[in-house]
């Protein structure tokens, strides 16, 4: 898609929520706060400033409306089209943003069917300031809804989007094109409601584990996203490594067909040959197509040439697409293409130096590296390497499950923020960025 030819000539833009949703569990203050943070995503890195006003003359009028609302872009009920915004210009609707009031708008929800209001608002405000759709998978300006993008207070735009908005407005003074924007501590920001598990009205379920202190039963990359399984629950992270919800989802409510009395899993992996998802528990395994179990399962793990007694971990290594199974100090190499175990296994040594002798689970990730999990720590082996990367093990809670001070479940489990870590790269994805702010 080409870049829109319009942009705002002024740098100070006013906004207002003109019409709130008629029937939403999100309060007015939450919606205003989410709009504030979605706009802030863009003003953090450009010379644009947004301020909320009360009158009818706001540059960006925000409405929750249904069906035909007289702008030529009628909404179509739940699903389908969920929102739109008008590009900058002289027209009276320029910058205006409309959300479909028939959608189930959510915030920090584990409900897979809801629409995360913050994620959609960031996308729509991109249009309000002049960005068109783009096909890049990582971009927030991709036209399709891709699920929540994580905590509004910590959201960092994908690099493609930063570059495109910098092309329109330049870089905000004091912002390095390669560093994460930092929020000045003395600025006042609207409060977002407490995290669901901290609300006094919603008690965590008794068996719900604390993601910041637990050891995980299984970890897997499924459809490019990361899944952390513990007991009857799992947490999900998007392709960009954003935690979808701080609250875990129940395994049975998402993966349909596992026995209801199953209280935990041993290992999970996505088969590279046909993208089926394989779940292991004890001597049995289940094969899923998407989130439904296939006919004829469970079956015994001896199908793989594994002995009875269960496994600890399973993952497919990106380097050779072979699947590795682990049990205690033993490791097997399996060929999913040929559906047979490779000769010479089990072995008492893993192919990767520095990986712990016993594992909770392992997974490949989109950076090409293999990740090994044990206890509260994980180890990384870079693509094409046979040895654990320097600086590992690191904390699973801190690096994957957003357990920094503010977001941890309990004060006792708070992890310290990462020290002395910053990206020194001047370019990403082939873009070079020059900062010319004068």
């Amino acid at each position: 898609s080409i870049q829109a030819l319009t942009k705002w000539n002024k740098r100070n833009l006013s906004w207002r929520v003109r019409a709130f949703p008629k029937d939403s569990h999100l309060g007015h203050d939450t919606i205003r706060a989410l709009m504030y943070y979605a706009l802030k995503v863009w003003s953090d890195i450009t010379p644009l400033n947004f301020h909320e006003v009360a009158g009818n003359n706001a540059d960006i009028q925000i409405d929750f409306s249904k069906a035909d609302h007289n702008d030529g872009y009628p909404f179509d009920g739940p699903g389908g089209t969920v929102a739109h915004a008008f590009f900058p210009g002289e027209h009276h609707t320029a910058g205006d943003t409309h959300f479909d009031d028939d959608e189930s708008w959510t915030f920090r929800s584990s409900d897979a069917h809801g629409m995360d209001l913050f994620a959609v608002a960031v996308h729509e405000f991109g249009h309000s300031i002049g960005l068109t759709h783009i096909s890049a998978l990582e971009s927030i300006m991709r036209p399709y809804y891709q699920g929540p993008v994580g905590d509004p207070l910590k959201y960092d735009l994908p690099y493609e989007d930063k570059v495109r908005i910098w092309q329109l407005y330049g870089v905000r003074e004091s912002v390095s094109p390669t560093a994460r924007p930092e929020v000045p501590k003395n600025e006042e920001h609207p409060l977002l409601p407490d995290l669901p598990e901290n609300r006094s009205t919603i008690q965590p379920r008794k068996d719900e584990p604390d993601r910041c202190t637990t050891h995980f039963d299984a970890v897997a990359q499924i459809r490019g996203e990361a899944f952390f399984f513990k007991g009857k629950y799992f947490w999900r992270l998007t392709r960009n490594k954003h935690l979808v919800s701080l609250q875990p989802a129940q395994i049975h409510r998402f993966w349909r067909g596992l026995p209801l009395n199953m209280d935990s899993l041993d290992a999970v992996y996505e088969r590279t040959t046909d993208h089926r998802i394989v779940f292991f528990k004890g001597d049995r395994y289940w094969v899923f197509k998407d989130n439904n179990v296939e006919e004829g399962y469970p079956r015994p793990i001896t199908d793989f040439g594994l002995p009875l007694g269960g496994i600890d971990a399973a993952f497919s290594w990106a380097h050779n697409d072979k699947t590795y199974f682990f049990k205690d100090n033993l490791c097997w190499q399996y060929d999913d293409q040929e559906r047979r175990m490779d000769a010479g296994y089990p072995s008492e040594t893993t192919p990767w130096k520095g990986v712990p002798e016993t594992l909770d689970d392992a997974m490949r990730w989109s950076d090409g590296a293999a990740y090994f999990f044990r206890g509260k720590e994980y180890w990384r082996v870079l693509d094409n390497y046979m040895e654990v990367d320097a600086g590992y093990p690191r904390s699973i809670a801190q690096d994957w499950l957003v357990c920094t001070g503010m977001q941890s479940d309990s004060p006792n489990s708070r992890a310290k923020p990462r020290q002395g870590h910053h990206d020194e790269s001047r370019s990403e994805n082939g873009y070079e960025v020059c900062s010319c702010t004068s």
Partner: protein
């Protein structure tokens, strides 16, 4: 894979028009679109959506068309005009 039903093709054409991949129907010929134009539009949509550009309204393409999304077109009128030129 099974061929798409007539209803799915109609919905697909509407979708492609709505999001800028096909020009709006000619007032003289009504909804008629040439097969070549339709195939090209489906390919463009598939490329934009990260699917393999087959030009066929297959299951994955129809699924993507059902995915919740922003109402704005992916290709602007300027884009379409440029391609036409």
């Amino acid at each position: 894979s099974a061929a798409p039903k007539a209803e799915e093709i109609n919905q697909g054409v509407d979708w492609l028009i709505k999001f800028g991949y096909l020009p709006p129907p000619d007032p003289v010929t009504g909804q008629l679109q040439t097969q070549e134009k339709l195939t090209r539009a489906i390919k463009a949509m598939q490329r934009f959506g990260g699917l393999e550009a087959t030009g066929v309204l297959d299951k994955a393409t129809l699924e993507l068309m059902k995915t919740p999304r922003c109402s704005l077109p992916d290709l602007s009128e300027l884009d379409t005009a440029r391609r036409r030129r």
